[in-house]
Amino acid sequence: MGLKLNNNLIDSIRQHSARDYPSECCGVLLGRAVGDSKQVTEVVPLTNLRHDPSRAQKLLPLDDPGRETEKNRFLIDPLDQLRVEKGARARGLDVLGYYHSHPDHPARPSNYDREHAWPWYSYVIIAVERGAPKDLTSWVLAEDRSAFGAEQLEVTD
């Protein structure tokens, strides 16, 4: 299964990652799954709930809140997901996956990413080096949750 998205959508993700640096940014990929490919038609930037540690900790506690912050962790508010999903459904779109940034780290999924991932979704990761967006990759979790596999990314005009 491959992920298709156009240059404008990629630019939107890149700009979001630079804007939120040195924090991790996050957002949702909306579109349609057709056969073996997912066509992204909209990306929606969302707030990293780790900026609000007291609420985030209630929803998904961190092991070490002293070291784990919005600069190395992200969490999406499920209420934001609910709102975006409702709007998407009304337009005939589905949630195809999510994107997030890795500030000053490579665009590869971490163990923490894998432990929290769901099957089927596309997980787009963008590396940001000293504030500048770099590599952008996409990943899908293996059915047995053992690893992420790189997903083919098809960029259209």
Binding site: C26, L75, L82, E85, S110, Y112, Y123
Partner: protein, 99 residues
């Protein structure tokens, strides 16, 4: 009473690709029980080995998180909409931060 359960995209593959299901239930536990008894593969994604809802799974009745209501014993009204919302979280390897 009839209620609707919205299935998120990653779990539809275990429920014949259905976007939602209508079930008869008086509580959230009954509604989730109804969908997992029909589609057994959903169970392992929603519950852990001890039979408790996974911490990565959020359940909403309308716009209300059942954590802040009566959890799985939250009562339902006719035509309530129950949403299964997967937790979306991630981040970098902490070992990299040490180096």
């Amino acid at each position: 009473m009839p209620v609707k359960v919205i299935i998120p995209t990653p779990l539809r593959q275990y429920a014949e690709k259905k976007e939602s299901m209508e079930v008869q239930a008086k509580t959230v536990a009954e509604a989730l029980g109804a969908i997992t008894s029909q589609y057994g593969d959903l169970r392992k994604h929603l519950y852990n080995d001890e039979g408790k809802l996974r911490s990565f799974v959020n359940i909403y009745v309308g716009d209300e998180d059942i954590r802040f209501l009566q959890k799985e014993q939250t009562p339902l009204k006719e035509d309530d909409v129950i949403s299964i919302v997967p937790s979306i979280a991630g981040g970098v390897n902490l070992c990299c931060i040490c180096s």
